[in-house]
Subunit: 242 residues, 2 copies
DNA sequence: TAGCTTTTTGTCAATCTGACAGAAATAGCG
DNA sequence: CGCTATTTCTGTCAGATTGACAAAAAGCTA
């Protein structure tokens, strides 16, 4: 951070939000329909410019979330995902965008806010496959956010945040399956989760279910970082070997 | 990324660089002595403002690196570390800084460039302990960079980049020990590295050493992502349990 | 040749993983 | 009430991995 005698050029700073949740056992991302140009009518991540030059970035992120999707942003823990500042990514000029990621429990259907014509949950598959096109470079941002979520699930107990306050082990497994996009063995998952110390704690030996054997209920444990981590089965080598 | 009819406020955008290397088995970070206000004379990370509004962020990072430290930046793979945009972090006004991280082999002693009065390697310990004070929030950025490097070492083969093109397993171990800050068992390390497929490949059964048994030589293997990862021994639980 | 140092090869018990069998608990149905 | 379907939970078992440690191998030096 050196400075110049030269006047430093200013750029437009924006925040974009990748809000992930689980609906019907599928990973969904919150999208808005743009109400203004450019990309008017297209789907995009919620977000927007800083309101004033002194606005804090996370504050701006929370503000945009409530403005555009009427979601109670206070309860979401926003994690910085990255900066997207490639010249030309926005037709209006140089816009640098800071992306934030949040992983959320089943959230209510959002209602359109002031800036966006509409706000709704869309399956990430539709976005990643390209079936649903997004404005700007938002598809890339979603992809990065999903990958981050996958890694985060391995090392942190955040998966419990996808569930309600009380959940069964099967429900927790469905979170992992949905985010990782692969099926897991229920018995091994059960064992692993149970003996990962501090991950989940049993809550009143209650029960549940509609058709099978009643499942025990748990709540999130005190540990935030999982050690050893949940290991995601190998899929393919990043670089071919030999 | 919604826009306003309101004129969006512009902020000053800067890049900061955390360049890590190994010198005498200790992790060092590249620092410059600031030649201008604010914090004139204090140590700081190399970096600076965008030169013009259309400059690419990574291009700016590479430019600053060569300007301030005369390092051949082309060979370094810069990885985005995060955004530091807290209001008030820079006395000149609202400055948002994008931090980049690079992990590098033994680099030459840098020479001061145009903007910085001096550029040199400093042990990260001295920075993290607070013994050496840095300008702005750069100590925090260094801390984040070191932690990122530690995690990266677990999952990627980047550790080989700290060594020269040809190295011994002991040299590779010293990289892990320096970055992780803990000692490792040579025999178990040897075994683990050897059977992590594609990590390192033996190069001509040459030898080396001055005092003990000659060590075999290796070069970086084709695999960039390590699976299974190198596991860093547990240190302490992030959240107390029970 | 003996001693020192460092690298390399083993050993062993404990733990973890992946695959799978089968018991337990409930609802629905004839 | 007994049977079946379904889901949850408890085991088992072989193979791989880990951490701790012993000891051989290969040089250099005295």
């Amino acid at each position: 951070m050196t400075d110049d005698r030269w006047v430093a050029p200013a750029v437009l700073l924006a925040v974009d939000l990748v809000i992930l949740t689980l609906r019907r056992s599928r990973l969904h991302v919150l999208l808005v329909e743009r109400g203004v140009e450019p990309y008017r009518g297209a789907s995009a991540l919620p977000g927007g410019f800083l309101r004033h030059p002194e606005e804090d970035l996370t504050a701006a992120a929370h503000r945009e979330l409530s403005e555009e999707a009427n979601l109670d942003a206070e309860t979401l823990r926003l994690e910085q995902l990255g900066v997207y500042g490639e010249p030309g990514r926005d037709p209006r000029g140089r816009v640098v965008s800071v992306a934030y990621l949040a992983i959320a429990p089943r959230l209510p259907e959002p209602t359109a806010g002031t800036d966006a014509a509409d706000a709704r949950w869309q399956p990430v598959d539709r976005v990643l496959s390209g079936e649903l096109e997004l404005a700007f470079d938002h598809r890339r941002i979603v992809a990065d956010g999903v990958e981050r979520a996958r890694v985060t699930l391995e090392h942190s107990a955040i998966a419990t945040a996808f569930c309600g306050p009380i959940f069964t082990i099967t429900e927790l497994q469905e979170v992992y399956e949905a985010v990782w996009g692969i099926p897991l063995d229920p018995r091994n998952f059960y064992r692993k989760v149970q003996k990962t110390d501090g991950f989940i704690v049993p809550v009143g030996s209650a029960r549940k279910a509609a058709t099978g054997r009643p499942a025990r209920l748990f709540k999130a444990g005190p540990r935030a970082v999982l050690y050893p981590p949940m290991v995601r089965p190998a899929e393919s080598s990043s670089t071919e070997e030999q």
